[in-house]
Protein backbone atom coordinates (compact mmCIF):
# COMPACT_ATOMS: atom_id res chain seq x y z
CA UNK A 1 0.00 0.00 0.00
CA UNK A 2 2.80 2.40 0.90
CA UNK A 3 4.59 1.65 -2.37
CA UNK A 4 1.35 2.28 -4.25
CA UNK A 5 0.86 5.67 -2.58
CA UNK A 6 4.52 6.58 -3.16
CA UNK A 7 4.14 5.73 -6.83
CA UNK A 8 1.11 7.98 -7.16
CA UNK A 9 2.89 10.75 -5.26
CA UNK A 10 5.95 10.65 -7.55
CA UNK A 11 3.81 10.69 -10.68
CA UNK A 12 1.76 13.52 -9.20
CA UNK A 13 4.93 15.57 -8.63
CA UNK A 14 6.05 14.97 -12.23
CA UNK A 15 2.66 15.95 -13.64
CA UNK A 16 2.35 18.95 -11.35
CA UNK A 17 5.77 20.17 -12.56
CA UNK A 18 4.56 19.88 -16.13
CA UNK A 19 1.29 21.63 -15.37
CA UNK A 20 3.07 24.46 -13.57
CA UNK A 21 5.48 25.00 -16.47
CA UNK A 22 2.65 24.85 -19.02
CA UNK A 23 0.69 27.36 -16.96
CA UNK A 24 3.75 29.60 -17.05
CA UNK A 25 3.29 30.19 -20.78
CA UNK A 26 -0.48 29.62 -21.01
CA UNK A 27 -1.58 31.73 -18.10
CA UNK A 28 1.02 34.46 -18.10
CA UNK A 29 2.23 34.76 -21.68
CA UNK A 30 -0.98 33.82 -23.49
CA UNK A 31 0.84 31.11 -25.44
CA UNK A 32 -1.57 28.15 -25.68
CA UNK A 33 0.75 25.30 -26.49
CA UNK A 34 -0.45 21.81 -27.32
CA UNK A 35 3.13 20.57 -27.67
CA UNK A 36 4.16 20.51 -24.02
CA UNK A 37 4.49 16.71 -23.95
CA UNK A 38 7.22 17.04 -26.58
CA UNK A 39 9.48 18.98 -24.20
CA UNK A 40 8.69 16.49 -21.44
CA UNK A 41 9.79 13.81 -23.90
CA UNK A 42 12.91 15.64 -25.01
CA UNK A 43 13.93 15.96 -21.37
CA UNK A 44 13.30 12.28 -20.68
CA UNK A 45 15.16 11.03 -23.77
CA UNK A 46 18.09 13.40 -23.27
CA UNK A 47 18.55 12.45 -19.62
CA UNK A 48 18.23 8.76 -20.48
CA UNK A 49 20.83 9.02 -23.24
CA UNK A 50 23.30 10.91 -21.10
CA UNK A 51 22.86 8.45 -18.25
CA UNK A 52 23.26 5.42 -20.50
CA UNK A 53 26.23 6.63 -22.54
CA UNK A 54 28.17 9.28 -20.60
CA UNK A 55 27.57 9.78 -16.92
CA UNK A 56 24.88 8.90 -14.42
CA UNK A 57 25.35 12.08 -12.41
CA UNK A 58 21.89 13.52 -11.75
CA UNK A 59 23.04 17.13 -12.05
CA UNK A 60 24.72 16.52 -15.39
CA UNK A 61 21.73 14.67 -16.82
CA UNK A 62 19.23 17.28 -15.70
CA UNK A 63 21.41 20.12 -16.95
CA UNK A 64 21.76 18.42 -20.32
CA UNK A 65 18.01 17.82 -20.55
CA UNK A 66 17.26 21.46 -19.70
CA UNK A 67 19.74 22.77 -22.27
CA UNK A 68 18.58 20.54 -25.13
CA UNK A 69 14.91 21.18 -24.42
CA UNK A 70 15.43 24.93 -24.02
CA UNK A 71 17.28 25.06 -27.32
CA UNK A 72 14.61 23.01 -29.13
CA UNK A 73 11.90 25.24 -27.69
CA UNK A 74 13.00 27.90 -30.17
CA UNK A 75 11.00 25.95 -32.74
CA UNK A 76 7.91 26.73 -30.65
CA UNK A 77 8.97 30.31 -30.01
CA UNK A 78 9.11 31.04 -33.74
CA UNK A 79 5.36 30.72 -34.38
CA UNK A 80 4.64 32.29 -30.97
CA UNK A 81 6.35 35.44 -32.19
CA UNK A 82 4.54 35.57 -35.50
CA UNK A 83 0.97 34.43 -34.91
CA UNK A 84 -1.58 34.28 -32.12
CA UNK A 85 -4.77 32.47 -31.22
CA UNK A 86 -5.96 29.63 -33.42
CA UNK A 87 -2.91 29.81 -35.65
CA UNK A 88 -0.54 29.22 -32.79
CA UNK A 89 -2.62 26.34 -31.46
CA UNK A 90 -2.50 24.80 -34.94
CA UNK A 91 1.26 25.32 -35.16
CA UNK A 92 1.83 23.70 -31.77
CA UNK A 93 -0.41 20.79 -32.75
CA UNK A 94 1.73 20.37 -35.84
CA UNK A 95 4.85 20.39 -33.70
CA UNK A 96 3.35 17.75 -31.42
CA UNK A 97 2.64 15.42 -34.36
CA UNK A 98 6.09 15.96 -35.87
CA UNK A 99 7.72 15.40 -32.47
CA UNK A 100 5.92 12.10 -31.88
CA UNK A 101 6.98 10.90 -35.33
CA UNK A 102 10.60 11.77 -34.59
CA UNK A 103 10.41 10.06 -31.16
CA UNK A 104 9.10 6.86 -32.67
CA UNK A 105 11.32 6.82 -35.78
CA UNK A 106 14.72 8.11 -34.64
CA UNK A 107 15.66 4.66 -33.40
CA UNK A 108 19.30 5.30 -32.48
CA UNK A 109 18.42 8.00 -29.94
CA UNK A 110 14.96 7.01 -28.74
CA UNK A 111 14.82 3.27 -29.28
CA UNK A 112 11.82 3.68 -31.59
CA UNK A 113 8.47 2.36 -30.44
CA UNK A 114 10.15 -0.07 -28.04
CA UNK A 115 11.74 2.82 -26.15
CA UNK A 116 14.89 2.93 -24.06
CA UNK A 117 15.20 0.18 -21.46
CA UNK A 118 17.54 -0.07 -18.47
CA UNK A 119 18.26 3.55 -17.62
CA UNK A 120 20.73 3.41 -14.68
CA UNK A 121 19.71 5.05 -11.38
CA UNK A 122 21.10 8.58 -11.08
CA UNK A 123 23.82 9.45 -8.59
CA UNK A 124 23.94 12.55 -6.41
CA UNK A 125 27.47 13.23 -5.16
CA UNK A 126 28.35 9.58 -5.60
CA UNK A 127 25.24 8.19 -3.92
CA UNK A 128 22.91 6.25 -6.22
CA UNK A 129 19.19 6.93 -5.82
CA UNK A 130 17.36 3.63 -5.77
CA UNK A 131 14.53 3.40 -3.23
CA UNK A 132 11.06 4.81 -3.98
CA UNK A 133 11.41 7.07 -0.94
CA UNK A 134 14.50 8.74 -2.36
CA UNK A 135 12.73 9.24 -5.69
CA UNK A 136 9.78 10.81 -3.92
CA UNK A 137 12.19 13.23 -2.29
CA UNK A 138 13.76 13.97 -5.65
CA UNK A 139 10.39 14.54 -7.34
CA UNK A 140 9.10 16.71 -4.48
CA UNK A 141 12.32 18.69 -4.56
CA UNK A 142 11.95 19.14 -8.31
CA UNK A 143 8.38 20.35 -7.91
CA UNK A 144 9.41 22.80 -5.19
CA UNK A 145 12.27 24.09 -7.35
CA UNK A 146 10.02 24.55 -10.38
CA UNK A 147 7.42 26.37 -8.29
CA UNK A 148 10.09 28.57 -6.74
CA UNK A 149 11.69 29.49 -10.06
CA UNK A 150 8.42 30.26 -11.86
CA UNK A 151 6.97 32.25 -8.96
CA UNK A 152 10.17 34.23 -8.54
CA UNK A 153 10.24 35.02 -12.24
CA UNK A 154 6.58 36.04 -12.25
CA UNK A 155 6.88 38.26 -9.18
CA UNK A 156 9.69 40.25 -10.78
CA UNK A 157 9.80 42.62 -13.70
CA UNK A 158 9.95 39.70 -16.11
CA UNK A 159 6.53 38.51 -14.97
CA UNK A 160 5.05 41.96 -15.28
CA UNK A 161 6.39 42.32 -18.84
CA UNK A 162 4.97 38.90 -19.65
CA UNK A 163 1.50 39.76 -18.40
CA UNK A 164 1.63 43.13 -20.14
CA UNK A 165 2.36 41.35 -23.41
CA UNK A 166 -0.45 38.87 -22.80
CA UNK A 167 -2.96 41.64 -22.22
CA UNK A 168 -1.85 43.91 -25.03
CA UNK A 169 1.17 43.23 -27.15
CA UNK A 170 1.20 46.61 -28.85
CA UNK A 171 0.83 48.51 -25.58
CA UNK A 172 3.73 46.56 -24.08
CA UNK A 173 5.83 47.31 -27.13
CA UNK A 174 4.94 50.99 -26.94
CA UNK A 175 6.02 50.98 -23.29
CA UNK A 176 9.45 49.88 -24.42
CA UNK A 177 9.25 46.14 -23.69
CA UNK A 178 11.35 43.92 -25.92
CA UNK A 179 8.42 41.67 -26.80
CA UNK A 180 10.32 39.10 -28.87
CA UNK A 181 12.95 38.51 -26.20
CA UNK A 182 10.47 38.21 -23.34
CA UNK A 183 8.28 35.74 -25.24
CA UNK A 184 11.22 33.66 -26.42
CA UNK A 185 12.67 33.52 -22.94
CA UNK A 186 9.34 32.49 -21.40
CA UNK A 187 9.00 29.62 -23.88
CA UNK A 188 12.58 28.53 -23.18
CA UNK A 189 12.07 28.61 -19.39
CA UNK A 190 8.86 26.62 -19.67
CA UNK A 191 10.39 24.00 -21.96
CA UNK A 192 13.57 23.79 -19.90
CA UNK A 193 11.71 23.20 -16.65
CA UNK A 194 9.42 20.67 -18.33
CA UNK A 195 12.60 18.80 -19.25
CA UNK A 196 13.46 18.54 -15.53
CA UNK A 197 10.19 16.68 -15.06
CA UNK A 198 11.12 14.52 -18.05
CA UNK A 199 14.49 13.63 -16.57
CA UNK A 200 13.01 12.69 -13.19
CA UNK A 201 10.32 10.63 -14.92
CA UNK A 202 12.90 8.77 -17.02
CA UNK A 203 15.02 7.89 -13.97
CA UNK A 204 12.02 6.88 -11.88
CA UNK A 205 10.57 4.57 -14.52
CA UNK A 206 14.07 3.52 -15.74
CA UNK A 207 12.27 3.08 -19.07
CA UNK A 208 10.93 5.61 -21.59
CA UNK A 209 8.97 5.17 -24.77
CA UNK A 210 6.90 7.40 -26.99
CA UNK A 211 3.58 6.44 -25.32
CA UNK A 212 4.11 8.97 -22.54
CA UNK A 213 4.66 11.90 -24.87
CA UNK A 214 1.73 11.72 -27.28
CA UNK A 215 -0.94 14.30 -28.00
CA UNK A 216 -3.04 12.73 -25.23
CA UNK A 217 -0.45 13.79 -22.66
CA UNK A 218 -0.41 17.34 -23.97
CA UNK A 219 -4.20 17.45 -23.75
CA UNK A 220 -4.17 15.96 -20.25
CA UNK A 221 -1.67 18.61 -19.13
CA UNK A 222 -3.77 21.33 -20.71
CA UNK A 223 -6.80 19.92 -18.90
CA UNK A 224 -4.91 20.03 -15.58
CA UNK A 225 -4.06 23.69 -16.06
CA UNK A 226 -7.54 24.65 -17.21
CA UNK A 227 -9.43 22.64 -14.60
CA UNK A 228 -7.26 24.04 -11.83
CA UNK A 229 -7.29 27.59 -13.12
CA UNK A 230 -5.16 29.21 -15.79
CA UNK A 231 -2.90 31.99 -14.57
CA UNK A 232 -3.05 31.05 -10.87
CA UNK A 233 -0.18 29.72 -8.78
CA UNK A 234 -1.92 26.74 -7.19
CA UNK A 235 -4.48 26.04 -9.91
CA UNK A 236 -2.25 23.72 -11.98
CA UNK A 237 -1.21 21.78 -8.87
CA UNK A 238 -4.81 21.26 -7.82
CA UNK A 239 -5.71 20.32 -11.39
CA UNK A 240 -2.86 17.82 -11.49
CA UNK A 241 -3.89 16.35 -8.14
CA UNK A 242 -7.51 15.95 -9.26
CA UNK A 243 -6.66 14.31 -12.57
CA UNK A 244 -4.05 12.05 -10.95
CA UNK A 245 -6.50 10.92 -8.27
CA UNK A 246 -9.26 10.27 -10.78
CA UNK A 247 -8.00 6.91 -12.10
CA UNK A 248 -7.36 5.36 -8.64
CA UNK A 249 -10.68 6.76 -7.42
CA UNK A 250 -12.55 5.21 -10.33
CA UNK A 251 -11.19 1.76 -9.46
CA UNK A 252 -13.28 1.90 -6.28
CA UNK A 253 -16.51 2.17 -8.24
CA UNK A 254 -17.73 -1.44 -8.25
CA UNK A 255 -19.97 -1.25 -11.32
CA UNK A 256 -17.17 -0.23 -13.70
CA UNK A 257 -15.53 -3.06 -15.62
CA UNK A 258 -11.72 -2.69 -15.25
CA UNK A 259 -11.21 -2.84 -19.02
CA UNK A 260 -13.22 0.35 -19.52
CA UNK A 261 -11.47 2.35 -16.78
CA UNK A 262 -9.25 4.38 -19.12
CA UNK A 263 -12.21 5.16 -21.33
CA UNK A 264 -14.44 6.26 -18.47
CA UNK A 265 -11.62 8.37 -17.07
CA UNK A 266 -11.27 10.19 -20.39
CA UNK A 267 -15.02 10.73 -20.60
CA UNK A 268 -14.99 12.22 -17.11
CA UNK A 269 -12.19 14.65 -17.81
CA UNK A 270 -13.59 15.55 -21.22
CA UNK A 271 -16.93 16.38 -19.62
CA UNK A 272 -15.25 18.37 -16.86
CA UNK A 273 -13.47 20.43 -19.49
CA UNK A 274 -16.72 21.16 -21.34
CA UNK A 275 -18.73 22.01 -18.23
CA UNK A 276 -16.01 24.18 -16.69
CA UNK A 277 -15.63 26.17 -19.91
CA UNK A 278 -19.39 26.70 -19.95
CA UNK A 279 -19.91 27.71 -16.37
CA UNK A 280 -16.58 28.52 -14.78
CA UNK A 281 -14.00 29.39 -17.46
CA UNK A 282 -11.48 30.62 -14.88
CA UNK A 283 -11.06 27.07 -13.51
CA UNK A 284 -11.61 25.88 -9.96
CA UNK A 285 -9.15 28.28 -8.39
CA UNK A 286 -9.65 31.18 -10.78
CA UNK A 287 -13.33 31.55 -10.02
CA UNK A 288 -15.58 33.40 -12.42
CA UNK A 289 -13.02 36.09 -13.14
CA UNK A 290 -12.58 36.71 -16.82
CA UNK A 291 -9.30 35.70 -18.34
CA UNK A 292 -7.18 37.93 -20.48
CA UNK A 293 -8.06 38.04 -24.14
CA UNK A 294 -6.51 35.18 -26.06
Amino acid sequence: MLAYLQNIAVLFCVNAMLAVTLNFIMGYAGIFSLAHAIFFGVGAYTAANIAMHFSDSLLLCVAGAVLVSGALSMVLALPALRVRGEYFVAASLGLQVIGVTVFSEWKSATGGLGGLVGIPPPTVFGHALATPGEFLGLAAGGLAAVLLITTALLRGSFGRSLMAIRDSESAAQAAGKWVAAVKTLSVAVSAGLAAVAGAIYAFYMSFVNVEGFMLETSILLMAMVIIGGTGTVFGPIIGAALLMLLPPALTYLPFLPPSELGTVQQIVYGSIMVLLMMFRPGGLVGGRRKRGKA
Binding site: F32, L78, P79, R82, V83, R84, G85, E86, Y87, F88, V89, A90, A91, L93, G94, L95, V97, I98, T101, V102, S104, E105, L215, I219, M222, A223, I226, E260, T263, V264, Q266, I267, Y269, G270, S271, I272, M273, V274, M277, M278, P281, K290, R291, G292, K293, A294
Partner: protein, 290 residues
Protein backbone atom coordinates in the same frame (compact mmCIF):
# COMPACT_ATOMS: atom_id res chain seq x y z
CA UNK B 1 2.33 1.48 -62.07
CA UNK B 2 2.91 2.11 -58.40
CA UNK B 3 2.85 5.81 -59.13
CA UNK B 4 -0.52 5.62 -60.92
CA UNK B 5 -1.89 3.49 -58.09
CA UNK B 6 -0.76 6.01 -55.48
CA UNK B 7 -2.09 8.86 -57.63
CA UNK B 8 -5.56 7.30 -57.78
CA UNK B 9 -5.51 6.54 -54.04
CA UNK B 10 -4.41 10.12 -53.49
CA UNK B 11 -7.34 11.51 -55.46
CA UNK B 12 -9.75 9.36 -53.49
CA UNK B 13 -8.30 10.37 -50.11
CA UNK B 14 -7.99 13.97 -51.26
CA UNK B 15 -11.64 14.18 -52.32
CA UNK B 16 -12.71 13.01 -48.85
CA UNK B 17 -10.30 15.36 -47.07
CA UNK B 18 -11.59 18.23 -49.20
CA UNK B 19 -15.16 17.56 -48.04
CA UNK B 20 -14.19 17.32 -44.38
CA UNK B 21 -12.01 20.42 -44.54
CA UNK B 22 -14.73 22.38 -46.32
CA UNK B 23 -17.10 21.76 -43.40
CA UNK B 24 -14.51 22.81 -40.84
CA UNK B 25 -13.50 25.82 -42.89
CA UNK B 26 -17.09 26.95 -43.37
CA UNK B 27 -17.71 26.78 -39.63
CA UNK B 28 -14.44 28.47 -38.69
CA UNK B 29 -14.65 31.11 -41.42
CA UNK B 30 -18.19 32.24 -40.62
CA UNK B 31 -18.55 31.78 -36.85
CA UNK B 32 -14.87 31.90 -35.77
CA UNK B 33 -15.46 28.76 -33.70
CA UNK B 34 -12.42 26.46 -33.83
CA UNK B 35 -14.68 23.41 -34.02
CA UNK B 36 -12.19 20.60 -33.32
CA UNK B 37 -15.14 18.38 -32.46
CA UNK B 38 -15.68 18.25 -36.24
CA UNK B 39 -13.61 15.06 -36.12
CA UNK B 40 -16.15 13.70 -33.61
CA UNK B 41 -19.00 14.54 -36.01
CA UNK B 42 -17.19 12.53 -38.65
CA UNK B 43 -16.63 9.51 -36.41
CA UNK B 44 -20.20 9.64 -35.14
CA UNK B 45 -21.64 9.69 -38.68
CA UNK B 46 -19.40 6.79 -39.70
CA UNK B 47 -20.39 4.61 -36.75
CA UNK B 48 -24.10 5.37 -37.07
CA UNK B 49 -23.86 4.27 -40.71
CA UNK B 50 -22.04 1.12 -39.64
CA UNK B 51 -24.67 0.32 -37.01
CA UNK B 52 -27.62 0.90 -39.35
CA UNK B 53 -26.19 -0.62 -42.53
CA UNK B 54 -24.01 -3.50 -41.40
CA UNK B 55 -25.47 -4.44 -38.02
CA UNK B 56 -29.17 -3.70 -38.54
CA UNK B 57 -29.02 -4.33 -42.32
CA UNK B 58 -31.03 -1.31 -43.40
CA UNK B 59 -31.03 -0.24 -47.06
CA UNK B 60 -28.04 2.04 -47.72
CA UNK B 61 -29.99 5.25 -48.51
CA UNK B 62 -31.84 4.93 -45.21
CA UNK B 63 -28.63 4.24 -43.32
CA UNK B 64 -26.97 7.23 -45.00
CA UNK B 65 -29.93 9.41 -44.04
CA UNK B 66 -29.61 8.18 -40.46
CA UNK B 67 -25.91 9.05 -40.41
CA UNK B 68 -26.64 12.49 -41.86
CA UNK B 69 -29.32 13.10 -39.25
CA UNK B 70 -26.97 12.07 -36.43
CA UNK B 71 -24.21 14.39 -37.67
CA UNK B 72 -26.58 17.32 -38.19
CA UNK B 73 -28.23 16.92 -34.80
CA UNK B 74 -24.84 16.63 -33.07
CA UNK B 75 -23.46 19.75 -34.80
CA UNK B 76 -26.51 21.90 -34.13
CA UNK B 77 -26.91 20.78 -30.51
CA UNK B 78 -23.24 21.42 -29.77
CA UNK B 79 -23.50 24.91 -31.18
CA UNK B 80 -26.72 25.63 -29.37
CA UNK B 81 -26.06 24.15 -25.95
CA UNK B 82 -22.29 24.46 -25.62
CA UNK B 83 -20.73 27.11 -27.83
CA UNK B 84 -23.51 29.67 -27.55
CA UNK B 85 -23.56 29.32 -23.76
CA UNK B 86 -19.83 30.04 -23.67
CA UNK B 87 -19.98 32.89 -26.15
CA UNK B 88 -22.63 34.61 -24.08
CA UNK B 89 -20.14 35.39 -21.34
CA UNK B 90 -16.73 34.88 -22.85
CA UNK B 91 -15.44 35.83 -26.26
CA UNK B 92 -11.95 34.35 -25.94
CA UNK B 93 -11.39 31.74 -28.60
CA UNK B 94 -9.48 29.43 -26.30
CA UNK B 95 -12.44 28.78 -24.02
CA UNK B 96 -14.54 27.56 -26.94
CA UNK B 97 -11.59 25.58 -28.25
CA UNK B 98 -11.10 23.74 -24.96
CA UNK B 99 -14.80 22.91 -24.69
CA UNK B 100 -14.72 21.60 -28.24
CA UNK B 101 -11.68 19.49 -27.44
CA UNK B 102 -13.43 18.11 -24.36
CA UNK B 103 -16.43 17.16 -26.49
CA UNK B 104 -14.22 15.39 -28.99
CA UNK B 105 -12.67 13.33 -26.17
CA UNK B 106 -16.08 12.42 -24.73
CA UNK B 107 -17.54 11.35 -28.09
CA UNK B 108 -14.47 9.32 -29.00
CA UNK B 109 -14.60 7.38 -25.75
CA UNK B 110 -18.35 6.87 -25.79
CA UNK B 111 -17.98 5.35 -29.25
CA UNK B 112 -15.11 3.22 -27.96
CA UNK B 113 -17.38 1.86 -25.22
CA UNK B 114 -20.20 1.19 -27.66
CA UNK B 115 -18.24 -0.36 -30.51
CA UNK B 116 -14.86 -1.36 -29.05
CA UNK B 117 -11.49 0.13 -29.86
CA UNK B 118 -10.76 -1.98 -32.89
CA UNK B 119 -11.27 -1.30 -36.56
CA UNK B 120 -14.74 -1.93 -37.95
CA UNK B 121 -15.31 -2.23 -41.67
CA UNK B 122 -18.47 -1.86 -43.70
CA UNK B 123 -18.31 -4.26 -46.63
CA UNK B 124 -20.35 -3.05 -49.59
CA UNK B 125 -20.63 -4.34 -53.15
CA UNK B 126 -18.64 -1.32 -54.33
CA UNK B 127 -15.70 -1.52 -51.96
CA UNK B 128 -14.04 -4.54 -53.56
CA UNK B 129 -11.08 -3.52 -55.73
CA UNK B 130 -11.07 -4.41 -59.40
CA UNK B 131 -7.90 -4.95 -61.37
CA UNK B 132 -8.18 -2.33 -64.12
CA UNK B 133 -4.70 -2.82 -65.55
CA UNK B 134 -2.20 -5.45 -64.49
CA UNK B 135 -1.10 -4.40 -60.99
CA UNK B 136 -3.53 -1.48 -60.79
CA UNK B 137 -6.37 -1.97 -58.33
CA UNK B 138 -9.20 0.49 -58.09
CA UNK B 139 -12.41 0.14 -56.09
CA UNK B 140 -15.54 1.66 -57.69
CA UNK B 141 -15.80 3.51 -54.37
CA UNK B 142 -13.01 5.82 -55.55
CA UNK B 143 -15.20 7.08 -58.38
CA UNK B 144 -18.11 7.46 -55.94
CA UNK B 145 -15.90 9.51 -53.62
CA UNK B 146 -14.86 11.89 -56.38
CA UNK B 147 -18.45 12.20 -57.60
CA UNK B 148 -19.72 12.88 -54.08
CA UNK B 149 -17.12 15.58 -53.61
CA UNK B 150 -18.01 17.28 -56.90
CA UNK B 151 -21.75 17.16 -56.22
CA UNK B 152 -21.35 18.40 -52.64
CA UNK B 153 -19.13 21.28 -53.72
CA UNK B 154 -21.54 22.20 -56.52
CA UNK B 155 -24.43 22.30 -54.06
CA UNK B 156 -22.44 24.28 -51.52
CA UNK B 157 -21.30 26.78 -54.11
CA UNK B 158 -24.86 27.22 -55.34
CA UNK B 159 -26.13 27.61 -51.78
CA UNK B 160 -23.55 30.24 -50.90
CA UNK B 161 -23.84 32.32 -54.07
CA UNK B 162 -27.46 31.94 -55.21
CA UNK B 163 -29.60 31.89 -52.09
CA UNK B 164 -30.43 34.48 -49.47
CA UNK B 165 -29.21 32.13 -46.76
CA UNK B 166 -25.84 31.81 -48.50
CA UNK B 167 -25.55 35.57 -48.78
CA UNK B 168 -26.32 35.93 -45.08
CA UNK B 169 -23.76 33.26 -44.17
CA UNK B 170 -21.04 34.97 -46.17
CA UNK B 171 -21.96 38.27 -44.56
CA UNK B 172 -21.70 36.64 -41.14
CA UNK B 173 -18.09 35.73 -41.87
CA UNK B 174 -17.30 39.28 -42.94
CA UNK B 175 -19.04 41.29 -40.26
CA UNK B 176 -21.44 39.85 -37.67
CA UNK B 177 -22.33 43.29 -36.30
CA UNK B 178 -23.56 44.47 -39.67
CA UNK B 179 -25.62 41.30 -40.04
CA UNK B 180 -27.34 42.15 -36.76
CA UNK B 181 -27.93 45.75 -37.85
CA UNK B 182 -29.47 44.41 -41.03
CA UNK B 183 -32.05 42.59 -38.93
CA UNK B 184 -30.77 39.00 -39.00
CA UNK B 185 -29.80 36.99 -35.94
CA UNK B 186 -26.20 35.77 -36.03
CA UNK B 187 -27.14 33.00 -33.58
CA UNK B 188 -29.78 31.59 -35.92
CA UNK B 189 -27.39 31.79 -38.86
CA UNK B 190 -24.72 30.07 -36.82
CA UNK B 191 -27.09 27.10 -36.39
CA UNK B 192 -27.40 26.81 -40.17
CA UNK B 193 -23.63 26.96 -40.51
CA UNK B 194 -23.21 24.07 -38.10
CA UNK B 195 -25.96 22.13 -39.87
CA UNK B 196 -24.32 22.51 -43.28
CA UNK B 197 -20.78 22.07 -42.00
CA UNK B 198 -21.65 18.87 -40.15
CA UNK B 199 -23.53 17.46 -43.14
CA UNK B 200 -20.43 17.94 -45.29
CA UNK B 201 -18.57 15.43 -43.11
CA UNK B 202 -21.20 12.71 -43.68
CA UNK B 203 -20.38 11.54 -47.23
CA UNK B 204 -16.72 11.39 -46.29
CA UNK B 205 -17.52 9.38 -43.16
CA UNK B 206 -19.65 6.86 -45.05
CA UNK B 207 -17.10 6.47 -47.84
CA UNK B 208 -14.27 6.03 -45.34
CA UNK B 209 -16.31 3.39 -43.53
CA UNK B 210 -16.82 1.57 -46.81
CA UNK B 211 -13.19 1.74 -47.94
CA UNK B 212 -10.63 1.78 -45.15
CA UNK B 213 -12.86 1.18 -42.13
CA UNK B 214 -13.49 3.11 -38.92
CA UNK B 215 -12.00 3.22 -35.46
CA UNK B 216 -13.07 5.47 -32.57
CA UNK B 217 -9.74 7.31 -32.43
CA UNK B 218 -9.79 8.42 -36.07
CA UNK B 219 -11.47 11.71 -35.14
CA UNK B 220 -8.00 12.97 -34.10
CA UNK B 221 -6.57 12.47 -37.55
CA UNK B 222 -9.64 14.03 -39.19
CA UNK B 223 -9.37 17.03 -36.88
CA UNK B 224 -5.67 17.48 -37.67
CA UNK B 225 -6.32 17.23 -41.41
CA UNK B 226 -9.21 19.73 -41.24
CA UNK B 227 -7.11 22.23 -39.34
CA UNK B 228 -4.15 21.81 -41.68
CA UNK B 229 -6.25 22.11 -44.83
CA UNK B 230 -8.17 25.13 -43.53
CA UNK B 231 -5.05 27.06 -42.64
CA UNK B 232 -2.97 26.03 -45.66
CA UNK B 233 -5.90 26.84 -47.94
CA UNK B 234 -6.61 30.14 -46.25
CA UNK B 235 -9.20 30.81 -43.57
CA UNK B 236 -12.51 31.95 -45.01
CA UNK B 237 -11.85 30.41 -48.39
CA UNK B 238 -13.81 27.25 -49.15
CA UNK B 239 -12.02 26.88 -52.44
CA UNK B 240 -8.73 27.07 -50.55
CA UNK B 241 -9.78 24.42 -48.03
CA UNK B 242 -10.96 22.12 -50.84
CA UNK B 243 -7.77 22.50 -52.86
CA UNK B 244 -5.61 22.08 -49.76
CA UNK B 245 -7.59 19.00 -48.68
CA UNK B 246 -7.10 17.47 -52.10
CA UNK B 247 -3.39 18.29 -52.07
CA UNK B 248 -2.90 16.89 -48.56
CA UNK B 249 -4.60 13.65 -49.59
CA UNK B 250 -2.42 13.44 -52.69
CA UNK B 251 0.74 14.29 -50.75
CA UNK B 252 -0.06 11.69 -48.08
CA UNK B 253 -0.33 8.94 -50.72
CA UNK B 254 2.29 10.06 -53.24
CA UNK B 255 4.91 10.52 -50.53
CA UNK B 256 4.65 6.76 -49.95
CA UNK B 257 6.69 6.32 -53.13
CA UNK B 258 9.71 7.85 -51.41
CA UNK B 259 9.34 7.65 -47.65
CA UNK B 260 7.98 5.25 -45.06
CA UNK B 261 4.28 5.57 -44.27
CA UNK B 262 5.00 6.51 -40.63
CA UNK B 263 6.38 9.84 -41.85
CA UNK B 264 3.46 10.90 -44.04
CA UNK B 265 1.54 12.63 -41.24
CA UNK B 266 4.69 14.47 -40.18
CA UNK B 267 5.17 15.69 -43.77
CA UNK B 268 1.68 17.20 -43.70
CA UNK B 269 2.47 19.05 -40.53
CA UNK B 270 5.85 20.31 -41.63
CA UNK B 271 3.96 21.91 -44.54
CA UNK B 272 1.39 23.35 -42.12
CA UNK B 273 4.11 24.64 -39.82
CA UNK B 274 5.93 26.38 -42.66
CA UNK B 275 2.69 27.94 -43.88
CA UNK B 276 1.89 29.31 -40.43
CA UNK B 277 5.39 30.76 -40.14
CA UNK B 278 5.70 32.30 -43.56
CA UNK B 279 2.25 32.66 -45.04
CA UNK B 280 -0.40 32.46 -42.29
CA UNK B 281 -3.01 33.67 -44.77
CA UNK B 282 -2.71 30.45 -46.77
CA UNK B 283 -3.13 30.16 -50.55
CA UNK B 284 -6.30 32.16 -50.99
CA UNK B 285 -7.05 33.69 -47.61
CA UNK B 286 -6.77 37.14 -46.21
CA UNK B 287 -3.69 37.50 -44.05
CA UNK B 288 -5.34 37.31 -40.64
CA UNK B 289 -2.99 36.68 -37.75
CA UNK B 290 -4.99 37.99 -34.83
Amino acid sequence: MLFIQLFINGIQTGALYALIAAGFSLIFGTTRVFHVAHGATFTLAGFVFYELYTVLAWAWPLAALGAAAAAAVFGVLVDRYVYSVIQRHEAAFFTVFVASFGLAIVVQNLIAIGFGRGLVTVPTPLSKSLELLPGLYVAPMAAVAVLCAIVAFGLLQWLLTHTNLGLALRALGENPELVRVYGLTPRRLSQYVFLIGSLLAVPAAILTAATSGLNPAMGHHIMLISIAATIVGGVGSLRGAAVAGLLLGMAENLSLAWIDPQWSEAVTFVVLFLFILFRPGGFFGRAVTS
